[in-house]
Symmetry: C2
Subunit: 305 residues, 2 copies
Protein backbone atom coordinates (compact mmCIF):
# COMPACT_ATOMS: atom_id res chain seq x y z
CA UNK A 1 0.00 0.00 0.00
CA UNK A 2 1.17 3.51 -0.88
CA UNK A 3 0.52 6.42 1.46
CA UNK A 4 0.81 9.93 0.06
CA UNK A 5 0.81 13.14 2.10
CA UNK A 6 -0.66 16.00 0.15
CA UNK A 7 -1.86 19.57 0.15
CA UNK A 8 -4.07 20.88 -2.63
CA UNK A 9 -3.48 21.34 -6.31
CA UNK A 10 0.25 20.51 -6.67
CA UNK A 11 0.12 17.48 -4.40
CA UNK A 12 -3.11 16.34 -5.99
CA UNK A 13 -1.33 15.92 -9.33
CA UNK A 14 1.09 13.37 -7.95
CA UNK A 15 -1.71 11.77 -5.93
CA UNK A 16 -3.53 11.27 -9.23
CA UNK A 17 -0.37 9.82 -10.77
CA UNK A 18 -0.06 7.34 -7.91
CA UNK A 19 -3.76 6.51 -8.27
CA UNK A 20 -3.20 5.79 -11.96
CA UNK A 21 -0.48 3.22 -11.13
CA UNK A 22 -3.34 1.15 -9.67
CA UNK A 23 -1.48 0.40 -6.46
CA UNK A 24 -3.72 0.60 -3.39
CA UNK A 25 -3.50 4.23 -2.30
CA UNK A 26 -4.25 6.23 0.83
CA UNK A 27 -3.81 10.01 0.72
CA UNK A 28 -3.41 11.89 4.01
CA UNK A 29 -4.49 15.45 3.30
CA UNK A 30 -3.77 18.80 4.89
CA UNK A 31 -6.83 20.28 6.58
CA UNK A 32 -5.22 23.42 8.01
CA UNK A 33 -6.58 25.39 5.00
CA UNK A 34 -10.14 24.46 5.96
CA UNK A 35 -12.52 27.20 6.89
CA UNK A 36 -16.16 27.98 7.39
CA UNK A 37 -17.80 30.21 4.82
CA UNK A 38 -21.49 31.10 4.70
CA UNK A 39 -22.07 28.34 7.24
CA UNK A 40 -20.40 25.73 5.03
CA UNK A 41 -17.48 23.54 6.07
CA UNK A 42 -14.98 23.98 3.24
CA UNK A 43 -11.91 21.74 2.91
CA UNK A 44 -10.03 23.01 -0.15
CA UNK A 45 -7.22 20.45 -0.11
CA UNK A 46 -9.44 17.43 0.49
CA UNK A 47 -11.62 18.60 -2.38
CA UNK A 48 -8.69 19.23 -4.72
CA UNK A 49 -7.38 15.71 -4.13
CA UNK A 50 -10.84 14.15 -4.35
CA UNK A 51 -11.67 15.92 -7.61
CA UNK A 52 -8.23 15.04 -9.03
CA UNK A 53 -8.58 11.34 -8.25
CA UNK A 54 -12.17 11.30 -9.56
CA UNK A 55 -10.98 13.04 -12.75
CA UNK A 56 -13.32 15.95 -12.09
CA UNK A 57 -10.69 18.69 -11.80
CA UNK A 58 -10.71 21.68 -14.06
CA UNK A 59 -7.40 21.58 -15.92
CA UNK A 60 -7.52 25.21 -17.06
CA UNK A 61 -8.27 26.90 -13.76
CA UNK A 62 -6.18 24.40 -11.85
CA UNK A 63 -8.77 24.13 -9.06
CA UNK A 64 -12.41 23.21 -8.65
CA UNK A 65 -14.65 21.12 -10.84
CA UNK A 66 -14.52 20.90 -14.62
CA UNK A 67 -17.52 22.43 -16.40
CA UNK A 68 -18.34 24.44 -13.28
CA UNK A 69 -21.04 27.13 -13.25
CA UNK A 70 -21.41 30.12 -10.93
CA UNK A 71 -25.13 30.73 -10.48
CA UNK A 72 -25.06 30.58 -6.69
CA UNK A 73 -22.14 32.97 -6.47
CA UNK A 74 -23.89 35.40 -8.81
CA UNK A 75 -26.97 35.38 -6.57
CA UNK A 76 -24.87 35.66 -3.41
CA UNK A 77 -23.31 38.79 -4.92
CA UNK A 78 -26.75 40.14 -5.64
CA UNK A 79 -27.59 39.68 -1.96
CA UNK A 80 -24.41 41.56 -1.07
CA UNK A 81 -22.99 38.44 0.62
CA UNK A 82 -19.22 37.87 0.63
CA UNK A 83 -18.24 36.62 -2.82
CA UNK A 84 -14.44 36.65 -2.65
CA UNK A 85 -14.37 32.88 -2.27
CA UNK A 86 -15.23 31.39 -5.65
CA UNK A 87 -17.98 28.95 -4.72
CA UNK A 88 -18.84 26.93 -7.80
CA UNK A 89 -22.29 25.39 -8.07
CA UNK A 90 -20.96 21.82 -8.26
CA UNK A 91 -18.38 22.44 -5.59
CA UNK A 92 -21.20 23.72 -3.40
CA UNK A 93 -22.81 20.29 -3.48
CA UNK A 94 -19.67 18.87 -1.87
CA UNK A 95 -19.67 21.53 0.85
CA UNK A 96 -23.38 21.02 1.51
CA UNK A 97 -23.09 17.28 1.99
CA UNK A 98 -19.95 17.59 4.11
CA UNK A 99 -21.51 20.28 6.29
CA UNK A 100 -24.65 18.23 6.77
CA UNK A 101 -22.64 15.14 7.71
CA UNK A 102 -20.53 17.04 10.23
CA UNK A 103 -23.61 18.66 11.78
CA UNK A 104 -25.16 15.23 12.14
CA UNK A 105 -22.14 14.19 14.18
CA UNK A 106 -20.04 12.37 11.60
CA UNK A 107 -16.26 12.82 11.72
CA UNK A 108 -14.48 14.54 8.86
CA UNK A 109 -12.82 11.19 8.17
CA UNK A 110 -16.25 9.55 7.93
CA UNK A 111 -17.83 12.21 5.74
CA UNK A 112 -14.80 12.23 3.43
CA UNK A 113 -14.97 8.45 3.03
CA UNK A 114 -18.65 8.72 2.16
CA UNK A 115 -18.09 11.39 -0.50
CA UNK A 116 -15.22 9.41 -2.06
CA UNK A 117 -17.30 6.23 -2.10
CA UNK A 118 -20.15 8.10 -3.76
CA UNK A 119 -17.77 9.21 -6.52
CA UNK A 120 -16.59 5.64 -6.95
CA UNK A 121 -13.00 6.27 -5.84
CA UNK A 122 -10.90 3.21 -5.22
CA UNK A 123 -8.43 5.21 -3.12
CA UNK A 124 -8.86 6.32 0.46
CA UNK A 125 -8.65 10.01 1.45
CA UNK A 126 -7.91 10.78 5.07
CA UNK A 127 -7.90 14.23 6.65
CA UNK A 128 -4.70 14.67 8.68
CA UNK A 129 -6.91 15.05 11.77
CA UNK A 130 -10.58 15.21 12.69
CA UNK A 131 -9.81 18.15 14.97
CA UNK A 132 -9.82 21.68 13.57
CA UNK A 133 -6.41 23.15 12.73
CA UNK A 134 -6.28 26.59 11.13
CA UNK A 135 -3.31 28.11 9.34
CA UNK A 136 -2.72 31.81 9.87
CA UNK A 137 -0.02 33.96 8.33
CA UNK A 138 1.49 37.05 9.89
CA UNK A 139 1.47 39.95 7.48
CA UNK A 140 2.40 43.61 7.93
CA UNK A 141 -1.23 44.19 9.05
CA UNK A 142 -1.23 41.32 11.55
CA UNK A 143 -2.32 37.68 11.64
CA UNK A 144 -4.59 36.69 8.78
CA UNK A 145 -6.60 33.51 8.14
CA UNK A 146 -5.01 31.51 5.37
CA UNK A 147 -7.94 31.63 2.93
CA UNK A 148 -8.18 35.38 3.37
CA UNK A 149 -4.49 35.70 2.52
CA UNK A 150 -4.61 33.10 -0.24
CA UNK A 151 -7.88 33.93 -2.01
CA UNK A 152 -9.18 37.30 -0.87
CA UNK A 153 -5.78 39.03 -0.76
CA UNK A 154 -4.39 36.95 -3.66
CA UNK A 155 -1.18 36.14 -1.74
CA UNK A 156 -0.09 39.76 -1.98
CA UNK A 157 0.75 40.55 1.67
CA UNK A 158 4.28 39.62 2.73
CA UNK A 159 4.30 36.64 5.07
CA UNK A 160 6.60 37.00 8.06
CA UNK A 161 5.43 34.03 10.13
CA UNK A 162 3.04 31.10 9.96
CA UNK A 163 1.11 29.33 12.70
CA UNK A 164 -1.28 26.41 12.83
CA UNK A 165 -3.93 27.27 15.39
CA UNK A 166 -5.12 24.26 17.33
CA UNK A 167 -2.46 21.88 16.07
CA UNK A 168 -1.04 21.07 19.53
CA UNK A 169 -4.43 19.73 20.57
CA UNK A 170 -5.21 18.01 17.27
CA UNK A 171 -5.06 14.25 17.34
CA UNK A 172 -3.78 12.10 14.52
CA UNK A 173 -6.60 9.72 13.62
CA UNK A 174 -6.24 5.96 14.12
CA UNK A 175 -6.77 5.67 10.35
CA UNK A 176 -3.78 7.85 9.43
CA UNK A 177 -1.47 6.21 11.98
CA UNK A 178 -2.48 2.75 10.84
CA UNK A 179 -2.06 3.66 7.18
CA UNK A 180 1.47 4.92 7.86
CA UNK A 181 2.33 1.85 9.91
CA UNK A 182 1.05 -0.51 7.20
CA UNK A 183 2.47 1.40 4.23
CA UNK A 184 5.05 -0.05 1.91
CA UNK A 185 5.90 3.36 0.47
CA UNK A 186 5.25 6.85 1.83
CA UNK A 187 5.37 9.85 -0.51
CA UNK A 188 5.39 13.51 0.48
CA UNK A 189 3.80 15.11 -2.56
CA UNK A 190 5.17 18.30 -4.17
CA UNK A 191 2.98 20.60 -2.09
CA UNK A 192 3.83 23.89 -0.43
CA UNK A 193 6.22 22.83 2.36
CA UNK A 194 5.18 25.67 4.66
CA UNK A 195 1.39 25.54 4.57
CA UNK A 196 0.60 22.09 3.15
CA UNK A 197 3.22 19.60 4.34
CA UNK A 198 4.25 21.34 7.57
CA UNK A 199 0.72 21.29 9.05
CA UNK A 200 0.47 17.53 8.45
CA UNK A 201 3.88 16.93 10.02
CA UNK A 202 2.90 19.18 12.95
CA UNK A 203 0.01 17.00 14.05
CA UNK A 204 1.25 15.43 17.28
CA UNK A 205 2.52 11.91 16.63
CA UNK A 206 2.68 12.28 12.85
CA UNK A 207 6.42 12.90 12.57
CA UNK A 208 7.18 10.02 14.93
CA UNK A 209 4.87 7.75 12.97
CA UNK A 210 6.80 8.57 9.80
CA UNK A 211 10.16 8.04 11.51
CA UNK A 212 9.19 4.65 12.84
CA UNK A 213 7.37 3.50 9.71
CA UNK A 214 8.94 0.48 8.06
CA UNK A 215 8.24 1.90 4.59
CA UNK A 216 10.68 4.24 2.85
CA UNK A 217 9.58 7.87 3.12
CA UNK A 218 10.37 9.98 0.10
CA UNK A 219 9.55 13.55 -0.93
CA UNK A 220 9.14 15.10 -4.35
CA UNK A 221 10.58 18.57 -4.79
CA UNK A 222 7.89 21.26 -5.09
CA UNK A 223 10.44 23.53 -6.77
CA UNK A 224 11.99 23.47 -10.24
CA UNK A 225 14.87 25.86 -10.80
CA UNK A 226 13.88 27.89 -7.78
CA UNK A 227 10.28 28.28 -8.90
CA UNK A 228 7.00 26.72 -7.83
CA UNK A 229 4.61 25.56 -10.55
CA UNK A 230 1.73 27.36 -8.86
CA UNK A 231 1.06 29.24 -5.67
CA UNK A 232 3.09 31.43 -3.34
CA UNK A 233 5.66 28.86 -2.14
CA UNK A 234 8.70 30.86 -3.23
CA UNK A 235 7.39 34.18 -1.89
CA UNK A 236 6.55 32.56 1.43
CA UNK A 237 9.97 30.88 1.70
CA UNK A 238 11.61 34.24 1.03
CA UNK A 239 9.43 35.91 3.66
CA UNK A 240 10.63 33.39 6.23
CA UNK A 241 14.27 33.80 5.11
CA UNK A 242 14.43 30.28 3.71
CA UNK A 243 16.22 29.78 0.43
CA UNK A 244 13.73 28.64 -2.26
CA UNK A 245 15.77 25.59 -3.11
CA UNK A 246 15.04 21.85 -3.10
CA UNK A 247 17.97 21.52 -0.71
CA UNK A 248 16.26 23.71 1.86
CA UNK A 249 12.98 21.83 1.36
CA UNK A 250 14.67 18.44 1.74
CA UNK A 251 16.40 19.76 4.84
CA UNK A 252 13.05 20.55 6.48
CA UNK A 253 11.96 16.91 6.26
CA UNK A 254 15.36 15.20 6.38
CA UNK A 255 14.60 13.64 9.76
CA UNK A 256 11.73 11.61 8.31
CA UNK A 257 13.02 11.10 4.75
CA UNK A 258 14.84 8.25 3.07
CA UNK A 259 14.69 9.58 -0.44
CA UNK A 260 14.11 12.70 -2.53
CA UNK A 261 13.01 13.30 -6.12
CA UNK A 262 14.84 16.19 -7.72
CA UNK A 263 13.84 17.72 -11.02
CA UNK A 264 16.19 17.01 -13.90
CA UNK A 265 16.75 20.76 -14.32
CA UNK A 266 18.12 20.84 -10.76
CA UNK A 267 20.48 17.87 -11.18
CA UNK A 268 23.39 20.05 -10.09
CA UNK A 269 21.96 19.92 -6.55
CA UNK A 270 22.19 16.12 -6.42
CA UNK A 271 25.26 16.14 -4.21
CA UNK A 272 23.80 18.56 -1.67
CA UNK A 273 20.65 16.45 -1.28
CA UNK A 274 22.67 13.23 -1.04
CA UNK A 275 24.75 14.89 1.67
CA UNK A 276 21.59 15.00 3.79
CA UNK A 277 21.73 11.22 3.79
CA UNK A 278 18.97 10.81 1.18
CA UNK A 279 18.78 8.58 -1.83
CA UNK A 280 18.16 10.90 -4.79
CA UNK A 281 16.07 10.22 -7.89
CA UNK A 282 16.53 12.75 -10.69
CA UNK A 283 13.80 13.07 -13.31
CA UNK A 284 11.23 15.35 -14.93
CA UNK A 285 8.77 16.39 -12.23
CA UNK A 286 6.58 18.79 -14.20
CA UNK A 287 3.11 17.21 -14.41
CA UNK A 288 1.01 18.79 -17.12
CA UNK A 289 -0.90 15.73 -18.25
CA UNK A 290 -2.15 12.49 -16.71
CA UNK A 291 0.65 10.78 -18.63
CA UNK A 292 3.29 12.94 -16.87
CA UNK A 293 1.66 12.24 -13.51
CA UNK A 294 1.58 8.50 -14.03
CA UNK A 295 5.17 8.45 -15.34
CA UNK A 296 6.54 10.29 -12.30
CA UNK A 297 4.51 8.07 -9.96
CA UNK A 298 5.74 4.92 -11.68
CA UNK A 299 9.34 6.02 -11.47
CA UNK A 300 8.93 6.52 -7.74
CA UNK A 301 7.21 3.16 -7.36
CA UNK A 302 9.93 1.43 -9.38
CA UNK A 303 12.65 3.02 -7.29
CA UNK A 304 11.26 2.55 -3.80
CA UNK A 305 8.32 0.13 -3.63
CA UNK B 1 -51.09 50.29 4.25
CA UNK B 2 -52.15 47.06 2.54
CA UNK B 3 -51.60 43.71 4.21
CA UNK B 4 -51.77 40.59 2.05
CA UNK B 5 -51.87 37.01 3.33
CA UNK B 6 -50.25 34.65 0.87
CA UNK B 7 -49.03 31.18 0.15
CA UNK B 8 -46.67 30.48 -2.74
CA UNK B 9 -47.06 30.88 -6.45
CA UNK B 10 -50.77 31.77 -6.82
CA UNK B 11 -50.78 34.22 -3.95
CA UNK B 12 -47.47 35.68 -5.05
CA UNK B 13 -49.07 36.84 -8.30
CA UNK B 14 -51.59 39.02 -6.53
CA UNK B 15 -48.92 40.13 -4.05
CA UNK B 16 -46.94 41.33 -7.05
CA UNK B 17 -50.02 43.10 -8.39
CA UNK B 18 -50.50 44.89 -5.07
CA UNK B 19 -46.79 45.77 -5.04
CA UNK B 20 -47.16 47.30 -8.50
CA UNK B 21 -49.94 49.62 -7.27
CA UNK B 22 -47.18 51.31 -5.24
CA UNK B 23 -49.23 51.33 -2.04
CA UNK B 24 -47.15 50.44 1.03
CA UNK B 25 -47.39 46.66 1.27
CA UNK B 26 -46.81 44.01 3.91
CA UNK B 27 -47.21 40.36 2.94
CA UNK B 28 -47.76 37.79 5.68
CA UNK B 29 -46.63 34.48 4.26
CA UNK B 30 -47.42 30.86 5.03
CA UNK B 31 -44.43 29.02 6.51
CA UNK B 32 -46.09 25.65 7.11
CA UNK B 33 -44.55 24.39 3.83
CA UNK B 34 -41.07 25.09 5.15
CA UNK B 35 -38.70 22.19 5.58
CA UNK B 36 -35.09 21.31 6.10
CA UNK B 37 -33.30 19.69 3.19
CA UNK B 38 -29.59 18.85 3.08
CA UNK B 39 -29.19 20.95 6.20
CA UNK B 40 -30.75 24.00 4.54
CA UNK B 41 -33.73 25.93 5.88
CA UNK B 42 -36.07 26.14 2.89
CA UNK B 43 -39.15 28.40 2.90
CA UNK B 44 -40.83 27.85 -0.47
CA UNK B 45 -43.67 30.34 -0.01
CA UNK B 46 -41.51 33.15 1.37
CA UNK B 47 -39.16 32.63 -1.57
CA UNK B 48 -41.95 32.56 -4.15
CA UNK B 49 -43.33 35.87 -2.86
CA UNK B 50 -39.88 37.43 -2.53
CA UNK B 51 -38.85 36.41 -6.06
CA UNK B 52 -42.21 37.60 -7.43
CA UNK B 53 -41.94 41.03 -5.81
CA UNK B 54 -38.29 41.35 -6.89
CA UNK B 55 -39.29 40.38 -10.44
CA UNK B 56 -36.95 37.39 -10.33
CA UNK B 57 -39.58 34.67 -10.81
CA UNK B 58 -39.41 32.25 -13.69
CA UNK B 59 -42.62 32.78 -15.64
CA UNK B 60 -42.39 29.50 -17.58
CA UNK B 61 -41.80 27.10 -14.68
CA UNK B 62 -44.01 29.13 -12.38
CA UNK B 63 -41.61 28.75 -9.45
CA UNK B 64 -37.99 29.54 -8.66
CA UNK B 65 -35.65 32.07 -10.19
CA UNK B 66 -35.56 33.12 -13.84
CA UNK B 67 -32.45 32.01 -15.74
CA UNK B 68 -31.81 29.36 -13.11
CA UNK B 69 -29.10 26.70 -13.53
CA UNK B 70 -28.85 23.27 -11.93
CA UNK B 71 -25.15 22.54 -11.42
CA UNK B 72 -25.42 21.85 -7.71
CA UNK B 73 -28.35 19.50 -8.17
CA UNK B 74 -26.45 17.64 -10.88
CA UNK B 75 -23.50 17.14 -8.54
CA UNK B 76 -25.77 16.18 -5.64
CA UNK B 77 -27.23 13.47 -7.89
CA UNK B 78 -23.75 12.30 -8.72
CA UNK B 79 -23.11 11.92 -4.98
CA UNK B 80 -26.33 9.93 -4.71
CA UNK B 81 -27.85 12.60 -2.45
CA UNK B 82 -31.62 13.17 -2.51
CA UNK B 83 -32.41 15.15 -5.66
CA UNK B 84 -36.20 15.11 -5.68
CA UNK B 85 -36.34 18.71 -4.50
CA UNK B 86 -35.29 20.91 -7.42
CA UNK B 87 -32.62 23.04 -5.80
CA UNK B 88 -31.61 25.70 -8.31
CA UNK B 89 -28.15 27.24 -8.03
CA UNK B 90 -29.49 30.78 -7.49
CA UNK B 91 -32.21 29.59 -5.17
CA UNK B 92 -29.51 27.83 -3.17
CA UNK B 93 -27.92 31.19 -2.39
CA UNK B 94 -31.16 32.24 -0.69
CA UNK B 95 -31.28 29.03 1.37
CA UNK B 96 -27.60 29.35 2.34
CA UNK B 97 -27.96 32.91 3.62
CA UNK B 98 -31.21 32.15 5.43
CA UNK B 99 -29.75 29.03 7.05
CA UNK B 100 -26.66 30.90 8.14
CA UNK B 101 -28.73 33.71 9.62
CA UNK B 102 -30.98 31.31 11.55
CA UNK B 103 -27.98 29.35 12.86
CA UNK B 104 -26.48 32.62 14.05
CA UNK B 105 -29.61 33.19 16.12
CA UNK B 106 -31.58 35.55 13.89
CA UNK B 107 -35.34 35.10 13.70
CA UNK B 108 -36.96 34.07 10.43
CA UNK B 109 -38.60 37.51 10.43
CA UNK B 110 -35.18 39.14 10.75
CA UNK B 111 -33.46 37.03 8.10
CA UNK B 112 -36.35 37.54 5.68
CA UNK B 113 -36.20 41.30 6.14
CA UNK B 114 -32.47 41.22 5.44
CA UNK B 115 -32.87 39.21 2.23
CA UNK B 116 -35.65 41.51 1.00
CA UNK B 117 -33.61 44.60 1.79
CA UNK B 118 -30.65 43.15 -0.10
CA UNK B 119 -32.87 42.69 -3.15
CA UNK B 120 -34.06 46.26 -2.84
CA UNK B 121 -37.70 45.43 -2.10
CA UNK B 122 -39.87 48.29 -0.94
CA UNK B 123 -42.43 45.87 0.52
CA UNK B 124 -42.18 43.98 3.78
CA UNK B 125 -42.42 40.18 3.91
CA UNK B 126 -43.35 38.60 7.22
CA UNK B 127 -43.42 34.90 8.00
CA UNK B 128 -46.72 34.03 9.70
CA UNK B 129 -44.69 32.96 12.74
CA UNK B 130 -41.06 32.59 13.79
CA UNK B 131 -41.93 29.21 15.31
CA UNK B 132 -41.83 26.09 13.14
CA UNK B 133 -45.17 24.86 11.83
CA UNK B 134 -45.19 21.86 9.51
CA UNK B 135 -48.05 20.79 7.26
CA UNK B 136 -48.60 17.08 6.91
CA UNK B 137 -51.21 15.33 4.79
CA UNK B 138 -52.77 11.98 5.54
CA UNK B 139 -52.59 9.69 2.53
CA UNK B 140 -53.52 6.02 2.12
CA UNK B 141 -49.96 5.19 3.28
CA UNK B 142 -50.11 7.43 6.36
CA UNK B 143 -49.07 10.97 7.31
CA UNK B 144 -46.65 12.55 4.87
CA UNK B 145 -44.63 15.79 5.07
CA UNK B 146 -46.09 18.36 2.73
CA UNK B 147 -43.04 18.78 0.49
CA UNK B 148 -42.77 15.02 0.10
CA UNK B 149 -46.42 14.91 -1.00
CA UNK B 150 -46.17 18.07 -3.10
CA UNK B 151 -42.81 17.65 -4.82
CA UNK B 152 -41.54 14.11 -4.40
CA UNK B 153 -44.92 12.40 -4.86
CA UNK B 154 -46.17 15.09 -7.29
CA UNK B 155 -49.49 15.46 -5.44
CA UNK B 156 -50.54 11.97 -6.52
CA UNK B 157 -51.55 10.40 -3.20
CA UNK B 158 -55.14 11.07 -2.15
CA UNK B 159 -55.31 13.46 0.79
CA UNK B 160 -57.80 12.46 3.49
CA UNK B 161 -56.75 14.87 6.23
CA UNK B 162 -54.39 17.76 6.85
CA UNK B 163 -52.64 18.87 10.02
CA UNK B 164 -50.26 21.69 10.92
CA UNK B 165 -47.75 20.27 13.37
CA UNK B 166 -46.71 22.76 16.00
CA UNK B 167 -49.32 25.36 15.15
CA UNK B 168 -50.93 25.40 18.64
CA UNK B 169 -47.61 26.44 20.13
CA UNK B 170 -46.67 28.87 17.34
CA UNK B 171 -46.87 32.52 18.23
CA UNK B 172 -48.00 35.25 15.90
CA UNK B 173 -45.15 37.75 15.71
CA UNK B 174 -45.58 41.31 16.99
CA UNK B 175 -44.83 42.44 13.43
CA UNK B 176 -47.75 40.51 11.88
CA UNK B 177 -50.20 41.56 14.61
CA UNK B 178 -49.17 45.18 14.32
CA UNK B 179 -49.37 45.11 10.52
CA UNK B 180 -52.92 43.75 10.71
CA UNK B 181 -53.94 46.28 13.36
CA UNK B 182 -52.52 49.18 11.31
CA UNK B 183 -53.76 47.98 7.91
CA UNK B 184 -56.25 49.94 5.82
CA UNK B 185 -56.96 46.93 3.61
CA UNK B 186 -56.33 43.23 4.20
CA UNK B 187 -56.31 40.83 1.25
CA UNK B 188 -56.35 37.05 1.40
CA UNK B 189 -54.58 36.14 -1.83
CA UNK B 190 -55.84 33.40 -4.18
CA UNK B 191 -53.75 30.69 -2.54
CA UNK B 192 -54.67 27.11 -1.71
CA UNK B 193 -57.22 27.52 1.11
CA UNK B 194 -56.29 24.24 2.80
CA UNK B 195 -52.49 24.39 2.94
CA UNK B 196 -51.66 28.07 2.36
CA UNK B 197 -54.37 30.23 3.93
CA UNK B 198 -55.56 27.81 6.63
CA UNK B 199 -52.11 27.52 8.29
CA UNK B 200 -51.85 31.31 8.55
CA UNK B 201 -55.36 31.56 10.01
CA UNK B 202 -54.53 28.71 12.42
CA UNK B 203 -51.71 30.59 14.13
CA UNK B 204 -53.15 31.41 17.56
CA UNK B 205 -54.40 34.99 17.65
CA UNK B 206 -54.37 35.48 13.87
CA UNK B 207 -58.08 34.93 13.26
CA UNK B 208 -58.98 37.22 16.15
CA UNK B 209 -56.59 39.87 14.87
CA UNK B 210 -58.35 39.78 11.49
CA UNK B 211 -61.80 39.92 13.09
CA UNK B 212 -60.92 42.93 15.20
CA UNK B 213 -58.94 44.74 12.49
CA UNK B 214 -60.44 48.06 11.47
CA UNK B 215 -59.52 47.44 7.81
CA UNK B 216 -61.85 45.57 5.46
CA UNK B 217 -60.73 41.96 4.98
CA UNK B 218 -61.34 40.58 1.53
CA UNK B 219 -60.43 37.34 -0.22
CA UNK B 220 -59.82 36.58 -3.87
CA UNK B 221 -61.19 33.29 -5.14
CA UNK B 222 -58.48 30.73 -5.89
CA UNK B 223 -60.91 28.89 -8.17
CA UNK B 224 -62.26 29.72 -11.60
CA UNK B 225 -65.08 27.52 -12.85
CA UNK B 226 -64.24 24.86 -10.31
CA UNK B 227 -60.58 24.74 -11.28
CA UNK B 228 -57.38 26.00 -9.70
CA UNK B 229 -54.86 27.72 -11.96
CA UNK B 230 -52.06 25.58 -10.55
CA UNK B 231 -51.56 23.05 -7.82
CA UNK B 232 -53.71 20.40 -6.17
CA UNK B 233 -56.35 22.65 -4.59
CA UNK B 234 -59.31 20.95 -6.26
CA UNK B 235 -58.04 17.42 -5.62
CA UNK B 236 -57.41 18.26 -1.96
CA UNK B 237 -60.86 19.83 -1.53
CA UNK B 238 -62.42 16.70 -3.04
CA UNK B 239 -60.37 14.50 -0.73
CA UNK B 240 -61.74 16.38 2.27
CA UNK B 241 -65.31 16.24 0.90
CA UNK B 242 -65.41 19.99 0.30
CA UNK B 243 -67.04 21.23 -2.87
CA UNK B 244 -64.41 22.92 -5.09
CA UNK B 245 -66.42 26.10 -5.34
CA UNK B 246 -65.73 29.74 -4.49
CA UNK B 247 -68.79 29.53 -2.25
CA UNK B 248 -67.20 26.82 -0.12
CA UNK B 249 -63.92 28.76 -0.03
CA UNK B 250 -65.65 31.98 1.00
CA UNK B 251 -67.54 30.00 3.63
CA UNK B 252 -64.30 28.85 5.26
CA UNK B 253 -63.22 32.46 5.91
CA UNK B 254 -66.64 34.12 6.20
CA UNK B 255 -66.08 34.88 9.89
CA UNK B 256 -63.15 37.17 9.08
CA UNK B 257 -64.23 38.46 5.66
CA UNK B 258 -65.97 41.61 4.56
CA UNK B 259 -65.62 41.11 0.82
CA UNK B 260 -64.89 38.54 -1.84
CA UNK B 261 -63.59 38.75 -5.41
CA UNK B 262 -65.33 36.29 -7.71
CA UNK B 263 -64.13 35.52 -11.22
CA UNK B 264 -66.33 36.84 -13.99
CA UNK B 265 -66.83 33.31 -15.26
CA UNK B 266 -68.39 32.44 -11.89
CA UNK B 267 -70.74 35.44 -11.75
CA UNK B 268 -73.70 33.09 -11.36
CA UNK B 269 -72.45 32.42 -7.79
CA UNK B 270 -72.72 36.11 -6.85
CA UNK B 271 -75.92 35.60 -4.88
CA UNK B 272 -74.59 32.68 -2.87
CA UNK B 273 -71.48 34.63 -1.84
CA UNK B 274 -73.53 37.72 -1.01
CA UNK B 275 -75.74 35.50 1.13
CA UNK B 276 -72.68 34.90 3.35
CA UNK B 277 -72.85 38.60 4.18
CA UNK B 278 -69.97 39.56 1.91
CA UNK B 279 -69.63 42.41 -0.52
CA UNK B 280 -68.81 40.82 -3.87
CA UNK B 281 -66.59 42.16 -6.62
CA UNK B 282 -66.86 40.30 -9.92
CA UNK B 283 -63.98 40.55 -12.39
CA UNK B 284 -61.31 38.68 -14.34
CA UNK B 285 -58.99 37.06 -11.79
CA UNK B 286 -56.68 35.15 -14.12
CA UNK B 287 -53.22 36.71 -13.78
CA UNK B 288 -50.95 35.79 -16.65
CA UNK B 289 -49.00 39.02 -16.97
CA UNK B 290 -47.88 41.81 -14.68
CA UNK B 291 -50.59 43.92 -16.32
CA UNK B 292 -53.29 41.44 -15.24
CA UNK B 293 -51.87 41.36 -11.73
CA UNK B 294 -51.79 45.13 -11.41
CA UNK B 295 -55.30 45.50 -12.85
CA UNK B 296 -56.81 43.03 -10.38
CA UNK B 297 -54.94 44.66 -7.50
CA UNK B 298 -56.10 48.12 -8.55
CA UNK B 299 -59.71 47.01 -8.79
CA UNK B 300 -59.47 45.68 -5.23
CA UNK B 301 -57.84 48.87 -4.01
CA UNK B 302 -60.46 51.03 -5.76
CA UNK B 303 -63.28 49.02 -4.24
CA UNK B 304 -62.08 48.69 -0.67
CA UNK B 305 -59.20 51.01 0.23
Amino acid sequence: MIVALSGGVGGAKLARGLYLTAHPLTVIVNTADDFEHLGLAICPDLDSVMYALADLSDPERGWGVRGESWGSLEMLSRYGAPDWFQLGDRDLATHLLRTQGLRQGQSLTGVTAQLCRALGLAARLLPMSDDPVRTQVRTPTGWMDFQVYFVKERCKPAVKAIRFLGVEKAKATPQTLQAIANARLIVLCPSNPLVSVDPILSVPGMRDALKTASAPVIAVSPLIQGRAIKGPTVEMLHGLDIEPSPVAVAGRYADVLDGFVLDALDRALHGQIAALGLEVLVMDTLMKTDEHKRRLAEAIVNEWL
